[in-house]
Symmetry: C2
Subunit: 305 residues, 2 copies
């Protein structure tokens, strides 16, 4: 189907002849959908997944031209491959696909940690294959091939972290893919990326996972009153806490240093707030609240809120 002429109105040639999505879940199936919809991202779409159920569902939904259970066979002949599996699986998947990657192929990913991706993929990278890690900063609380949609990346940032010396043409193709998916692009080194996402995303998730547990312990003491009165603050936290288990376990384990640094910084700051509460330091508390409001306003101006 995608072998047909490009969609009406798109004059540009597809960026990839044959693009393989490994792991068509929320992110992967959204890439397939936007590629299918536009026609100028890839001429032929391949999808591969570990589970039979996912493969069957991708076939039912008609998300790819080729659905292939074996990842090695799936990447054969592809000039683009995007890993969309939890970052903890990269080393294992790479061991299976590396011997089958074609020279000139662009290997990218959609993982939330980038230092670990370079660490896990580089040792097995065949000569002539270009590694261009990417992190589309988009998602919902849902997962699986049914959760994806073509507009997921629209207006969201995608951060590329090509290692020094990466072929500029390969970087340009990955950049163009995400631009066509509607994203804004930023290029960062992997270390800076990992630090930034640790504070804006990973620590908030750690906190959300933790506080709903703290509340649940208390709920057992107060006979469910806590859950009954979940006010707006707590409700927002539970939305964040309803995230994919495998993905988030791997994020924490693969961005360890940055997550621990941010948790330590946050804990110091929370303790300072607690100390101000204990000693009735109204001025300190007001300053913190005002700062929160100011940052909220900055975000609104930056159109991130």
């Amino acid at each position: 189907m995608a072998d047909a002429a490009p969609a009406a109105g798109t004059a540009e040639a597809p960026l990839f002849e044959r693009l393989c999505i490994i792991g068509p879940g929320l992110i992967g199936s959204s890439i397939l959908r936007v590629a299918r919809e536009r026609g100028d991202i890839a001429r032929h779409l391949v999808a591969t997944a570990r589970s039979e159920a996912t493969l069957a569902r991708v076939r039912e939904l008609g998300l790819a031209d080729t659905v292939e259970a074996d990842p090695g066979r799936a990447v054969e002949g592809c000039d683009g491959v995007i890993l969309c599996v939890p970052v903890g699986s990269y080393a294992g998947v790479m061991a299976r696909i590396a011997p089958h990657l074609s020279p000139g192929c662009v290997l990218s990913d959609a993982g939330s940690t980038k230092g670990s991706v370079i660490r896990d993929l580089t040792p097995l990278l065949p000569k002539g294959v270009h590694l261009v890690p990417a992190h589309p900063m988009a998602g919902t609380e849902h997962s699986g091939p049914d959760a994806g949609f073509a507009e997921l990346f629209k207006g969201r940032w995608c951060i590329l972290t090509p290692p020094p010396g990466t072929d500029p043409a390969a970087v340009a193709r990955v950049r163009a893919l995400w631009e066509r998916a509607g994203s804004m692009i930023e290029v960062l080194d992997a270390t800076t990326h990992d630090k930034v996402v640790a504070i804006v995303s990973h620590l908030p998730h750690l906190i959300a996972f933790t506080i709903v547990g703290t509340a649940d312990d208390l709920a057992q003491e107060t006979r469910e009153a806590v859950l009954r009165f979940a006010a707006s603050g707590f409700r927002d936290f539970t939305r964040i806490a309803a995230s994919d288990v495998d993905m988030w376990r791997d994020v924490f384990l693969n961005n360890r240093e940055a997550v621990l640094e941010m948790l330590a910084r946050f804990t110091e700051d929370a303790q300072a707030f607690g100390r101000a509460v204990r000693w009735g330091e109204a001025g300190f508390i007001e300053d913190r609240i005002k700062r929160g409001r100011k940052i909220r306003r900055s975000l609104i101006e930056l159109k991130q809120a």
Copy 2:
């Protein structure tokens, strides 16, 4: 205007002949609006505020039948008075209104802490005036008389914390007011209330105020990259952090013990999570994430999400 016949379709007599709202901000002006709209909450609405600007705005919006700058004069002749000011102002306001409260008057409030309210109002309570503290668990990130709306309390909990021995008829009138505003009612003792709201609302706010500051410190190092990439987790936190300064300062200072207890519990739990990240304990991390998802589902079943 509210002196006219009750709104069409409401057969019941107004609960109060003359109801005074002290502090017509987000909560107070929403009570005025729903009372005006229904006609069966009060026959005559009085509003008083400290600032000239608020008084003028309430007059312009036509929210009350009488708008009065002096709180003593405002409560004179009222059979219902609701304090809707930051809880730190209660003692000062009570000193001014107590000599003017009529015998039989029901004195209530809308504050987020309840132990401090009983502590601050009881010593000055005139004989024959009934204290029925209430906490409508509703709000938005906006404040002031323009921010209110009649539907604010619809489907939300309102917790009443009458001290032991309170006149049941007075409790019934406050309960009926909130029921007519669309709320679900629960009666708790003040100590349990303060503990529950500390975990479902006050601690989440403390965390939100803190983490946006932690991120802002980091942003100065990473030249705004943090703010630029505010992902969904952080964005949700900044929404919570955009709250009213005076209200939240007073909440923390007036629910000190419960907030510090919940902060201590949460910190222990967050440190345990951090330890699991450091030592790569995948099972522990998975359990925490699964627990978050489970609690999210409970909330959805309880219709709180």
